[in-house]
């Protein structure tokens, strides 16, 4: 089979460059001409290979950008080998010093860093469900998933105290307020969930309350005590994280 006899038409067909009549005629011929059909199949398979190549190229680009970023962050200077060895020796000496003096020199991570490491915003999938009819809670969750935090706050705040959905609304209100960087209000909303009797939101509410306190800093003794209680409670979903935070705070 002479593939070149068919190439241009197949190429135009895939590019959407054929007129309606030519396209229909091409499709009819695909049904009757086995050579054309085979050539078209080879064309499609070759495109799959090129798609793979495109992904590999993007992967390489991403790696390159990351390396550029790392180089930029470290100054990206080119140094001679001798100078490099000298610098490495000096760095090793400094590292040894820092290692022994670490307890006195290393600052604990900031509360901002700790918050960023441990705070997890609710995702679309995590907010799904509940046999809840279309109401402020549902619209609030949709707004939160779309990162329209102000709209979400407005919706969640519409659910009054005493409503069966109040605790859940306060929990998500806390997350919406975090999205708006209003951590004091977020803290209050999470506290309501933490002090509730709703097991689904109590533990998560308490955890996010602690994270909000951490973000607002400095952490007071009462909050630290809550953190220690969680760390010691092996049944808590956040025991591991609590222990890590306490360790990092030291």
């Amino acid at each position: 089979m002479k593939l070149e006899n068919y190439y241009d038409r197949i190429d135009q067909y895939h590019a959407g460059e054929l007129s309606t009549g030519d396209r229909q005629s091409f499709e009819r011929e695909l049904g009757s001409n086995s050579d054309l059909r085979q050539a078209e199949e080879l064309y499609r398979l070759s495109l799959s290979a090129l798609d793979y190549g495109v992904e590999e190229s993007l992967r390489n680009d991403l790696k390159k950008w990351e390396q550029e970023g790392n180089r930029a962050a470290s100054g990206g200077r080119i140094i001679s080998l001798r100078r490099g060895i000298f610098i490495l020796s000096a760095a090793a000496a400094v590292l040894l010093l820092v290692f022994f003096a670490r307890p006195f020199l290393m600052p604990a991570p900031s509360s901002d860093e700790l918050f960023a490491s441990y705070y997890e915003a609710p995702t679309e999938s995590s907010m799904r469900g509940g046999a809840v009819p279309q109401n402020a809670l549902t619209t609030g969750k949709t707004a939160l998933a779309e990162e329209s935090y102000a709209d979400a706050v407005e919706d969640f705040a519409r659910i009054p105290e005493g409503d069966p959905l109040y605790v859940e609304a306060q929990f998500y209100l806390g997350h919406a307020l975090v999205g708006l960087n209003n951590f004091s209000a977020a803290k209050k909303a999470f506290e309501i969930a933490a002090n509730s009797n709703e097991s689904k939101f109590k533990e998560k509410g308490e955890w996010n309350y602690i994270l909000a306190c951490l973000k607002l800093g400095p952490m007071d003794a009462a909050v630290e005590s809550k953190l220690k209680t969680i760390a010691q409670n092996e049944n808590s979903s956040f025991a591991k994280e609590a222990r890590e935070i306490l360790k990092k705070m030291k």
């Binding site: 593939l3 495109v54 960023a116 609710p122 996010n208």
Partner: protein
């Protein structure tokens, strides 16, 4: 710093458009350090390390790019939220494969709500990767670059300029010759065609 900014719609349109417009849009997404940090934090909180987190962010961008180009992204969710969901999904899948389940997620998924968009992630099997990689190896470096750029809707003028070819017409000629060579290789290797059809 990147001065360009995108709405959801313009970002999707830019990626679909291909060429340098797509490249700029992907770079803009990549440069969102806050989003990258969210992905890295999720991975680190779930038994991964910084490098795993960065890898997931990269793989997420690759899947997002593919899903947008293949019209699998319906545009019902913000692109960045969708990208974050893809990264989470990829990492959770990797963890499951390693039988390291029980992920730390402060807010556990509740019941499904079908009207919110979830990422569709097609996994590339090793067999498929090896086959496609072997197929591309049949092409020379220049052929491969020309064809990949053409596949990404770069214009012939852009291809000629980027790859320092004499002119547009020359780029078109090279594309024709290289693509035909790839198809001819497949024609001569029916076994490979069969294998490809099985894995695609």
């Amino acid at each position: 710093m990147n001065a360009i900014t995108y709405t959801n719609e313009s970002l999707v349109a830019a990626i679909k458009n291909g060429g340098t417009v797509r490249q700029t849009a992907i770079r803009w997404l990549y440069d969102d350090k806050e989003l990258q940090q969210r992905v890295v934090s999720f991975v680190r909180n779930n038994r991964g390390n910084q490098e795993d987190g960065t890898d997931m962010f990269h793989e997420g961008i690759i899947v997002l790019d593919r899903n947008i180009r293949e019209d699998k992204f319906r545009g019902e969710a913000p692109v960045k939220g969708y990208l974050y969901s893809i990264c989470r999904f990829l990492w959770m899948n990797q963890m499951r494969k390693q039988e390291r389940v029980s992920l730390v997620d402060p807010i556990k998924p509740a019941q499904e709500e079908p009207d919110l968009e979830t990422p569709e992630v097609t996994f590339r099997t090793e067999e498929r990767k090896n086959l496609l990689s072997h197929l591309l190896d049949q092409l020379g470096e220049q052929c491969r670059k020309v064809l990949e750029m053409w596949k990404l809707s770069y214009s012939m003028a852009e291809i000629a300029e980027t790859l320092q070819l004499s002119n547009e017409a020359n780029a078109r000629k090279i594309k024709y010759r290289c693509h035909l060579a790839l198809m001819e290789f497949l024609e001569k290797n029916p076994g490979m065609v069969k294998q490809l059809k099985d894995v695609l």
